[in-house]
Structure formats: C-alpha cells, structure tokens
Amino acid sequence: MSAKLLVENVSRVFPGVRGGEPVTALQPTHLTVGENDFITLLGPSGCGKSTLLRIVAGLDRPTTGRVLLDGREVAGPGPERGMVFQSYTLFPWLTVAQNIAYGLVERGVPEAQRRETVAHYLDRMGLSGFAEHWPKQLSGGMQQRVAIARALANDPAILLLDEPFGALDNQTRALMQELLLSIWERDRKTVLFVTHDIEEAIFLASRVLVMTARPGRIKAEVPVDLPHPRGYRMKTSPEFTALKARLTEEIRAEAVLAAAEH
C-alpha cells in the first residue's frame, strides 16, 4: 500500500480563551491513508475529528507534527485537497453550475472545457436540470451533492468530508451515502470521511479509524472487508451487524467518557 496521505505526530492545542486553560483538541496522531483508500474517522462529537481534518485541509496548523500528501508537506489549503463541510458552503451568489466551476475558473480552465466538466458532474450527481438554480432553491441533500461535485471538479488527490450528511434526514442521508459510494466505486478517489455515525462509517469505508473522547487520538483501526458494490441491503447482513456491534462497543466507552466530562 503506497502512502497517499501521511499524518505524522500531529496534535493540536488551542490556547485558552480569556485566561482559561489551553484546550488539547487532538493528541499526537499518526495516520496513513493509502492510494484509493476510503477511510472513515469515527468518534464522539468534540473528540477532535474536525480539528484533524482541518489540519489535513490546511485550514488549521498543527501544534506538533506535520501532514504529507504525496510526499509534500501541507502548508496551507489547496485544491488538491478537496473539502466538503458539514455546513452548507455553496456560494449563494453563484448558480449551481457556477459553484461547480469555481475551482476551474481559479485554474484558468477554458470555458468550453469548464462547461463539459460541469455537465459531467451535474449528471453524475443527479443534478441535471438544476444547473441554473440558486443554492437557496435546493434542499440540503442537493446542496451537499453540489458541494461534492464542486470539490471533485478540481480532480483533487484526496477528498476530505466533515460529516457532510450530518444535517440531513435519515432517508436522504442513506441515499447520499449510496451516491458517494457509487462514485468512489467507479473512480477510487482517495477519501477521508469524518462521521460520528457508526453505520455510515462501516457502510462507506475500507477502513474505520475509531477515535477516543477528547483529547482525541486514534485508538482502533477496523478494516471493513465487505465486498463492492455495496447496497443498502448490506446494512442488515451478518458481517455488517458484527462490525457494528464491535464498533458500538469501542465508541460506547468513549461516549461515556465524553458525557462524563460535560
């Protein structure tokens, strides 16, 4: 397995606000993501998942350690690390098509080629017919599909997703998981996906990394050997249920710890 992304000894301590104690959000963490891996980071809320992902994205600086992508150290945000946020971050003043083309314009891709790429992703995300809509006119699930398309249009080396379906209702969320998985099954784009939902973590991943309660660190690594293509029926298979039972145990201990702290 070639290392696409290497997280070496990365930790993050936030300085205390107004003379308060500094907050350790992330303990020194090591993480290797191979080419074409689909990794899910699973942990209770507040354990530092977003912090870790933001450091990989270059939106935050680690207190110690470093992040390497294809052997190069990450120094700031860049289009080779596409990011999808939990909050809806489409640019409200751009249409769906213009949102998807945002990064292409930044790179100076010619208009004709831009249009082609946009049409391609509109189609794959099931958004044909919505090209000229404003983000406001779309449902949450659709907005996140556009956000994924917008990140993929840049053809990033790795796709980072921070609980992208966290705000969606269960049915929409399940459909979105299948859509994302079908895209991965075709392109095998390297993915790092953050979630606190056990089922989601298993269903999508080739490997699930379980994090401890705050201050977070990776405490277990669970390979998911379920075959592809995966469908929603798989969620009731014995293998899936066994994995779910195991991860529930792992997470429960942490959730109890996290709850005790508050």
Partner: protein
Amino acid sequence: MLGLAFFALFVAAWAVATLGGFVSATFLADPVTMLKDGWLLLTRFGFLHDIGVTVWRVVGGFALAALVAVPVGIVMGAYKPVEALLEPFVSFARYLPASAFVPLLILWAGIGELQKLLVIFIGSVFQLVLMVAVAVGSTRRDLVEAAYTLGSNERSVVRRVLLPANAPDIAEILRLVLGWAWTYVIVAELIGSSSGIGHMIIDSQSLLATGQMIFGIIVIGLIGLVSDFAFKAGNRALFPWRLA
C-alpha cells in the same frame, strides 16, 4: 396600502389644524396654500433649478465618498492589520458632525460647489468606511475557507467571495447613508449658498412664506422616497440570488 392610509391621515390632520383655524397661518400654511406656493415656485421662481442643483450636490458628494469608502472599507474588513491601523481614526472621525465643518470649509473652499461637495463627502465617507468594513469583516468564515480549499488565494478570495458576498449589504449601506447625506446638503445650503432647496427654504423664512418652506421640505422627502425606491428595485435586479 396601510402606508398610504397613514399619509392620508397625516395630511387630513394637518388640514384640520390649519384650515380649521386652530393654528395661525403665519406659523403653518395649510395644504392648499402650500400647493399654490409650490406651483408658483416651480413655474415662476425656477425652483426646478434649485432641486437640480441640490440633487447634483448630494449625488456628487456622495459618489465621491462611496468611491473612496467602499474600497477602503473592503480592504479594512478583509485585512486585520489594515483594520487595526485605520479603525480607531475612522471611529473618531465618524463622530465629527459634518454640519460643524461648514464654517471651516467655507474658509477653506469658499462658498462654491466644492465646499458643498466636501460637506457631504465628510459627512458620509467615515460612516461608509466603517459600515462596509463591519459587513465585510463578518463574512461567513466557512465560505472563505471553502474558497481556499478550491484553490483561491487571498486576492481572489477578496474578489470572488468577499465582494459578491457583501455586495447586497454594501448597496443597503449606500442607501442608508445617502439618506443622511440629504440632511448634510440642506445644512450646507442653509449657510452661504445662492441656490438649492436649502437656500430656497432660508429665503422663504425671511418672507414668512411657510407654504414655500413646507413645500421644499416635502420635495426633499419625495426625492428621498423615490431614490429609496430606485435603490430597492436596483438591488432586486442586481442580486436575484438573495430572493430566490
């Protein structure tokens, strides 16, 4: 509709007070006299010219202020060091009353057009800078971050995110401050001026022509109303994504 009804109520109360003889005509003209005086002003005394001059002054002074203030405000909102440098001074300058500058500006720039423009400029520019900076400074952080992860650098974040994200707010700020600019122009015209709506009002005062004075004030109100309306229509046309 309800808004119109209140206008009607207001005029009715005014008519009752004056035509009913409750208030002496020396102090407050009745609506009919006001309209007659207004007609005379427009047809005989070249009041249209005064209106034109005043509008020109407001628009000119305000446009100059906007031209300076909007870019400065955006840069202030976008870059913390620039904000740290300018914010204290602008906050101080904002409280300097434009009307208090009128005598000083007459010394500096005479009583010509430049002086009128400067009054409006000084009255508007600091307010604009500060309000634009605040709007830009409070741009949604996650949108800026999304832009960076899509390959934007600082400059293109300003151009492709901060600017379009805040354009509607900036338009709204311009609308608001333009309203204030109207009060400055009248003050500037009350002192040391030979034309303009403010000059007409002060002229009428020496003649005790309250009908003319009230007509002048109402014209100011109407122009404000029309420009407000135009601004709102313009915003709707320019920023359809807001309404969708």
